[in-house]
Symmetry: none
Subunit: 206 residues, 4 copies
């Protein structure tokens, strides 16, 4: 679809680099980043081991790039998709649902986020802005603040709500991955929304 040499060359370069990033995420998610080897990644990408080092400085660099580039892009994409929704409650729910969709479409990205990113402390400390969970939390806090300001939801603590939502999403995905796709993630999501909306306590008593 590109129509000049410059873009093509760039695309060529980008394609192999992206090919490697995709292969790396899948391999890292499947075997765990420590157990996965450069040979595994190279094999999955159908290139020679040495080629990996033409695009990434080291195995650790490759791992960091997976987090900061691929994962970050996916999350940006999700957040952007929900920005046009005006009702904050709907926006949060849409964000939730879009993430679920990503998970179903590219499960290895979900596994990578829920497993690898969490344990990568060195990454989190060096690149706090790229921690997907932090991105999610910040996004929810922002949305919640708007919702409160507009009176759309009760004046609750936005940070607490964010933790509730993101934590729920995280473990929901974890459970779904563990169930190997057997769990009805949408049904649970809907139930979660109901609880959050009305609370658990009977109205008369609360």
């Amino acid at each position: 679809m590109n129509n000049n040499g410059k873009l093509n060359r760039r695309a060529g370069r980008t394609n192999k680099r992206d090919l490697l990033l995709d292969a790396a995420i899948e391999v890292f998610a499947t075997k765990g980043s420590t157990s996965a080897t450069i040979a595994d990644v190279a094999k999955k990408a159908r290139v020679a081991m040495g080629t990996v080092y033409l695009y990434f400085e080291s195995k650790d660099d490759l791992l960091q790039r997976c987090m900061s580039e691929v994962i970050s892009a996916e999350i940006d994409s999700i957040i952007k998709k929900t920005e046009s929704i005006t009702d904050p409650m709907d926006r949060l729910y849409a964000f939730f649902i879009h993430h679920v969709a990503l998970v179903k479409e590219k499960p290895y990205i979900a596994r990578f986020i829920t497993v690898e990113v969490r344990q990568s402390e060195s990454f989190s400390r060096r690149n706090p802005g790229y921690n997907p969970q932090q991105r999610y939390l910040d996004h929810v806090v922002d949305t919640a603040k708007t919702a409160i300001e507009t009176g759309r939801i009760n004046p609750i603590d936005p940070h607490a709500l964010a933790i509730l939502l993101v934590g729920t999403m995280d473990i929901l995905i974890w459970q779904w991955l563990a169930s190997e796709g057997q769990m009805d993630i949408e049904a649970i999501s809907y139930q979660v929304r109901q609880i959050l909306q009305t609370g658990v306590t009977p109205k008369a008593i609360s």
Copy 2:
């Protein structure tokens, strides 16, 4: 020769074994179980490397024991502590608070639970009963069912509530660990309880 031979021998054996388990959990939690070496564990426990193999068959065995013995014991202890509380809502909250207390007291156990157990799929598959998160989920589901039956809370989906609670707890701890203890975990916990009790939607509107 202190008390009697039997106790001494048993205590002696148990002590060194427990010493190793504690050291292992801390080391595994800090470096990740794959990156951590037996030498690290031995050094932390101030014994020689070979000694580890007097009490555990392999590095993997040591990791499994950390999960199935130490972690499981802590979780049993927490669940047991809350069993006497009659009000289901209070019981769930107490369970939450006890877990927070454990985390504050032995942060490396928390880190081990939130990070290592999650990625140890092989363990989870072989020993589903020892997965702490599953234990938590089951416990909350049970408690929620009771609460619903007694009319103490609305007839919501217990499984959804469990995912909400445990997921929140999990990420709350993760955030607290990342903040290196700076976050006011109790305040957030209280806010979470408020949200869960009354819901986010203004009464009149919902």
Copy 3:
């Protein structure tokens, strides 16, 4: 770029593999396969330790290959060399002499055969066809049967003769190795032939 790509690659691979096999046989023969280390073999072959694992799966695999490839090839070669000799007695003697020549030329192969193969029971059981001593015995039995059928030698038990010959050869080499090449192995061989031909008992008395 010498001849053609195919041959070069093949030759390159074969050469390093053969280099390792030769080094391994010498090291195994000298130190014993259990005491010999991969580092020893690598050092003798002037490669890095890891290189061994590019050509062989494990230390045990390397040992098996020494037996099944190198040793077997040498023995095939000896047996083939003697096949054209028509007189069975001469053929047996030629076989004996050729083996002695091999021993003198590549003493470490001889030592490997007399020492390592003997103790490698697991190998013998799994690959009975590659046991050099068994190969020798079978060959001698076959030749002896022909010799008997043609009336060239007395109707003795071929199996007993095989054991006599191969056993003698084995220990003769062992003695020669122990004497560090000082023993006149051909002279003894000739004497052995004399004894076998005429027997030890004076004609009149027997």
Copy 4:
């Protein structure tokens, strides 16, 4: 059965030492001396590992003592048993048969002789007099010389005869061990005697 304290104490000491030597030979013969561990020997002897070091300086010392004491004693015993036989040919055959009997009675000693002793170069060099095969060879050479001097056998090379006999014996036992006792060792022994007595060559032709 001893009847004074001194002897008893000595016997006590000797018994545990002998117990260890027996256990060691069996273990060394079964697993190979390099693969066998001190723990194996201690377990077989039903003593603690440390006890081994009360009677032997090191694992190597234990191995040397197995060769120089136990094996040597067995061989002395065999040679002594045949000394009274006047006819040299009968004496050699009796020696052969006695060794076969030892092998059948204590196969692990046979395996130890045929396998372990052979590969223990360091031992052979340091203690040439204790090499069982050398002892056998020397004995046969002596007997053969007598037989020749008395005209009982042809004036052959005694050394060649010795190598013939001992080599045959060695491989015969090896074959028998490999056959797991299925081979009729006596029948083959008899055939071997026939061949040695009369030779393989038809009288008229030789």
